[in-house]
């Protein structure tokens, strides 16, 4: 009898914990993901950093510069066209990045879901995002540089003028 009562109490407790946990997870995601399902711009995040502090945000943009591996983690800087924000993510997630933006390449376009920090306590007060999920929106590519013939023409014209000036100065000297 006592044993049955204990089992039932344990069951109730387990159900309670499960319900509480489910409710917590739901409320956490409903308050964050539902609010920030749409990507937030870097300007919005920087200008209203206090409002977004500690919240889960979705941020998207082009990976620029280097993917800086730091042990099991990596720093990835993502530029949305206005500003670049630092995203701290696991090295495993960063492995999905194939192209980073520079003069000769367009970087992968990523969508990051992660926790935004107004002044990150782990990283000396940096304004950053701790990325949890990553989705590649578009792959990057190498940019083939085309020779600008207008500039080449201008170089030859200027060279001609320079040569002519030099000849004239020779005459003047004589």
């Amino acid at each position: 009898m006592i044993k049955n009562l204990r089992t039932e109490k344990l069951k109730n407790l387990r159900t309670g914990i499960l319900l509480f946990f489910s409710f917590s997870v739901f409320s956490f995601f409903s308050s964050s993901v539902l609010l920030f399902a749409q990507p937030v711009s870097s300007s919005e995040l920087i200008n209203n950093a206090k409002q977004y502090d500690g919240k889960i945000v979705t941020y998207s943009g082009e990976v620029i510069g280097d993917v800086m591996l730091r042990g099991e983690f990596a720093w990835v800087n993502i530029n949305d066209g206005k500003n670049a924000l630092g995203v701290w993510m696991s090295a495993a997630l960063a492995q999905e990045i194939k192209f980073t933006g520079n003069y000769k390449a367009r970087g992968d376009r990523l969508e990051i879901v992660g926790v935004f920090h107004h002044a990150c306590p782990e990283h000396g007060g940096d304004l950053d995002i701790h990325g949890r999920f990553l989705r590649k929106i578009a792959s990057g590519r190498m940019v083939k540089e085309k020779l600008n013939f207008d500039k080449v023409s201008l170089i030859f014209i200027l060279l001609g003028v320079l040569f002519l000036t030099w000849i004239l100065t020779l005459f003047k000297r004589k």
């Binding site: 800086m68 720093w75 000396g124």
Partner: protein, 501 residues
Amino acid sequence: MILRPRLEDLKIIGFYLGKIILGLALTMVIPILIALCFGEINPALDFFISIEISVLFGLLLIKICQTDKDLNWMQGMIVVSLSWLVAMVLGAIPLYLSGHWKSFLDACFDAMSGFATTGLTLVGDLDHLSYTHNLWRHLIMFLGGQGIVVIALSFFVRGFSGAFKMYVGEARDEKIMPNVINTSRFIWLVSIVYLILGTLALGLTGIFNGMQPLNSFFHGACNFMAAFDTGGFSPQSQNILYYHSFVYEVITVIIMVLGAINFKLHYHLWMGNRKEIIKNIETRTLFITVIATFSIVAVGLAQTGIYPTAVMLFRKGFYQLISGHTGTGFQTIYAQQFSADWNPLALVGVIIAMALGGAVCSTTGAIKMLRIGIILKAFKEDLKRIIMPERAIVIEKFHHIREVFLEDKLVRGALMITLAYIILYGLGTLVGMFYGHPFLEALFESTSAAANVGLSCGITNPAMPAALKITYIIQMWAGRLEFMSVFTILGFLFASIKGKR
């Protein structure tokens, strides 16, 4: 009676200006070499065009104004102030051709910001800029930091008495060695030795932080040039925040402080006279003002509560403060954060630091430590006079390489330049406020431009009005040359119109 300048004056000015332009054209060979190394074709073309225009212009001036006469004081000052304006225009050509600057005025803004070692920028899409153009942005800081005329003096001008006049015109009134040419060469020696050491330190730190080796050393060289010459440009749009590294920040702080020290002091340190650093009025004043201004910033930031731990507060507060005080302009926060997150007290702390600057005969701008030290000593002397008996003879001395008696002439000079800077800060603030910016933000940006700092609270951007861009260009120019050459050229223009034959 004001005399109208003669044709001979114009010829002498034109001749030496032409020589300096040829010197500038020669420096454009360096980015071309970089372009060839990195296989960047179109950027190389931009520099070929710029070299040709510069050589053509320089050659024409030299040939038309051919003279063997030496410069007098007025001509020397005018050559200096004009060469900075011409360098801005010629230096802006490759930037504009890259397509990353919206207008030629924007490119001129960045060129002047670079040469004057300010660091304010209007570049668009910096993260996709070529290595070649990026190097040029930093190289012009390196050249401007040592002084455009110093380059010409070091490599192109064979000893003549006018050299000293141009050297002084570039806000360098202290000779390290008896000969001004040797002084220029020593400045280059110091800079190049530090360039190698600094690039190594930053490059290795970058690799340790996960950057690609080539990129890391390139960034190291660029950031060294920007830090030592207290410039503030960086190869990426996030500035120093890009690296997310405490060690990188520490190294850049050391380089910034080295850049803010008088080259004369560097010479004494190199010669083993280490006591000079403790005794020198400039280092003492710098130490006191850094502590005082950081205290203001720390209290301000503590009030906001944005950085709850001491480490965070120090890392963010001290970095921006020392960057402002040394006139560098490196940032580890976003420009908008100054106005959004920092309170007025913290901003005032940074503004005061920016307005004070580093040492004379260094690469910093602003009022500078020697003048602040002299003014403080003068206050002390006057206070002593009030306290002590009337018959007492009050003598005040200070140590700057040697013991110097505080004379009224010195105090007057220091106060004059200080006043000129305050007026310059104020005028820029008024223009900023005219365009609708709040007082504190307008003062912040104006001080940053006139003191050649480069910290920004967000006002400087490609969309700002052209008049404000021109105002900041003038402030950067006048602030870098410390007024004398600028006043001379204004006087020259006035004499050209109103003077008698």
